[in-house]
Symmetry: D2
Subunit: 283 residues, 4 copies
């Protein structure tokens, strides 16, 4: 079922829902899903509607024009998208295959509703796997002494492939600040710890050293500050003294895959609204 | 914050949200929480609003009158309640204290927003605990040869105390069909298994025999068919071969308490809508 | 680290651990992992040791001869295996790729320590995926009118490839009783429900109809009675009224994959002991 | 069933299990539970046996004498306890009742196998609840300007009541270093976050600010460094944008109670071995 997804954030007040739902009812819009959230701390209101596209007399552009006065009246930060226009997601990976293989399989079996115009990696290891899926693979090695050319190339590839979203599927390189800013809330990372615990490198080693009883993974938008962006999704797995660091790495892979796949799905379905470095996720 | 809770179920269609939110906006109602659900299988629409009571020019009765024409137009099954009018919950227990003690503690510490006019039990064991909380305790023994008088007395006590809700906190007796019918969707039970597994007696023994790796508990509305009413909440706990039946009983208590407390809270906040022996829970 | 895995079940009594550990100490065996379980209900004792292979003066056959008298004395059901002799696992699938793709990826990335001599399917859909991994794929269609020839061929392929273990990775066909008997405790199935709930076909439809709040998956050994064999591993995922049957199927896939992979790993590492249709899993 | 619990940590090597199990077999000791762990990182070996007391010709003191030579030979850190000699646990609380009420109820209903000689609090709020359980309550107010006298009194009460274990059931005061040292691995705290995230004050506020999707609780031994002692048990609960800080506090209570009760149970049953600021928990 093709839907339009109307996503709104604005200062809270009386009459917002009425105005928006009236607007939709006026045009005979059939709401298939609606979510609201009043954040009492920030005083903001968040809202997401899925409307059956064929019930509306609009295309996206006409919708935007018709809705603009309401958006203006309530100082809305808003967007509308068409479920039939698949988001374009560039995947980036390094040598570890588990997250990439998982996303590719979900996409291949039709469970991940997006286009994957290409995969970019700083290593060649995963080329064959990617190409078996019929997806172009670009090898962009990163010179530790001078990373700038690599990131310029990454940036060029992302633009050339008209990506809406970049997923760091265990890419293992820190993106430069200008890239983070340019693609704000468009770059999704999976960090292999339960943030804010164990920021930075080798979180499973840190976890083993601290003797925690659960390990976790965190899917978040990338910002300039390392591992500090808005969190989309998290989960954990139970471990014990019996587990070596190698076990943690292996057990953690399952959590990482699951958390990244869930977080990306929320993003692709326009279920994530960012406000003040936190997310509202209408799951 | 005092709120009115407007809970609606009706056949799905265009314009319902608009009509309701218009109605609220017309009277300047400040929506603090809103939830919607379109059930594609049944073709029904479910909706719950919390509206700040002081933003409306109504009391409950006036609200009902003003809203009635809309409800009629859309064939709504609906109710409205006032968060300031606490629900009256009669607790029933037998000899096991864990669920009762948990609910009493939550109530006593202000985490369970209701009144508890009395506790009814077929045994005397828990009298002192109940009375320490300042709650009347009624001992209504059940004669296995003739249960009717006991249930007549239970019924009388429930009515005398003007209960909205009855909670079977491990009461261990099966309510007679007429009681189930009379208090439909008002009697909440905690069953000590992950239903529909292990219906009936001694579910932990059944679980041990089958060798399952998780045990569970189910909070549901009581209907005439044993352990088959609409499920409100469920959860599980991991077990292993190391656990004896006594361990399962002990570990299960934690799950039972948690699941019952969550299910009851949903009920008390008017978050549960029953349709076709299933629930919509706007958590 | 190459290890010998000594797995023992016997009637409980005094001196078993002493006898076995003495035996190992006599030959200077370095125990890297040891697990014990006394089952008070059945009166049986279960035990698993991993011993560093290079610390022993034995090969497997010599170990068997030296240990036989002890085994006889305590009426042990026992086996010993060498971690360097990888188990041979034949995977069987139908059209759904998620479990198969997951196992193949784990194997390919070195996280699943076994050999996969071939994959058998009653459909052609997954051939290319299997062959990309360098594994032979056999298409054995099952004629609904006469399934016997297909299962004879399956049986032949399993023997020809000298399989220790057969995994039904959503194979969707019921194995005939003689195959179940012949490969007792060697055939692992993943059932897409939290058994014993929803035995048989279309468990997600059954789950949706019953309105449960969690769905699950069960990894078990196949026996003649459908979905009733010894359970190796189970897990669940939370669902809500918002989830359609299609969502349950999708969400369930993640649970199925995880549960099957864990259960198979336990099996491959000789961590599962079956007794009276229940399992001891030394995880 | 009365058991002796023999708990051992020592440098790993060949023959330890043989020596210990031989010793037990020599005296006809019936092992009802045995757990072993070889830690490859530290090179240490950990071991716990439960032996049926009536199967041994010893009392504890005789056991200690007979076993001492073996302990010396392998440089064991070890202890033996008698399940019939209940540990003496002093509970400390402040104003929040949830952890205290939970432990008292478990104790009262026979699920927590210990003696509770007294409860100490810096406030009077929970006196009545404690005294209903028949347990002495001591009010030791803490003067923020001079805490020393209060902690001297706490120390005196702990000694006077011959406590083995002190549980900080949301005590909300930081113990002075000398107390931490004196009762090393005897003082158990529940911290209301998933450590090492959100060390220190107001962890739920910190969690809300960071926008995490799970909150947690950590049961650990108290050491001089705040919230940095060996972790015994942890768990988490899922939250969302819908949850206010008050919700986190409320939802967190359930996690805290569960984690503290589990951690304390492990401790009481001598299942926790501390080594290098980490724990081995033979659950």
């Amino acid at each position: 079922m093709r839907t339009f997804r109307l996503v709104i954030a604005c200062p809270d007040g009386v009459g917002i829902v009425a105005k928006v739902s009236n607007f939709l009812a006026t045009y005979n819009g059939w709401i298939s899903e609606a979510s609201h959230h009043s954040d009492h701390q920030s005083g903001w209101f968040f809202m997401r509607h899925e409307i059956r596209a064929e019930s509306l007399p609009f295309d996206l552009e006409e919708f935007r024009q018709a809705f603009a006065p309401i958006a203006k009246q309530f100082s809305m930060v808003w967007r509308i998208s068409d479920s039939a226009q698949k988001k374009r997601v560039v995947l980036m990976a390094s040598r570890e295959s588990h997250c990439l293989a998982d996303l590719l399989h979900r996409w291949h079996s039709g469970d991940l509703d997006c286009e994957i115009p290409c995969v970019i990696s700083n290593h060649q290891d995963l080329r064959s796997m990617v190409e078996w899926h019929g997806i172009p693979f670009f090898h962009v090695p990163v010179d530790p002494q001078d990373k700038q050319p690599a990131f310029a190339e990454v940036s060029r590839l992302v633009e050339e492939h008209q990506a809406d979203t970049v997923v760091l599927a265990r890419y293992m390189q820190i993106l430069p600040p200008d890239l983070c800013r340019r693609f704000a809330h468009q770059v999704i990372n999976i960090h292999h710890s339960f943030l804010p615990s164990f920021v930075g490198a080798k979180p499973y080693h840190q976890a083993s050293l601290r003797g925690v009883k659960l390990i976790g993974a965190t899917c978040h938008y990338v910002t300039e500050e390392l591992d500090a962006g808005p969190i989309i999704e998290q989960d954990v797995a139970r471990i014990s003294h019996r587990n070596s660091i190698e076990d943690l790495v292996r057990l953690g892979k399952d959590v990482e895959r699951r958390v990244l796949a869930r977080g990306l799905r929320f993003h692709l379905e326009d279920r994530v609204l960012v406000h003040d470095n936190k997310t509202v996720v209408f799951d």
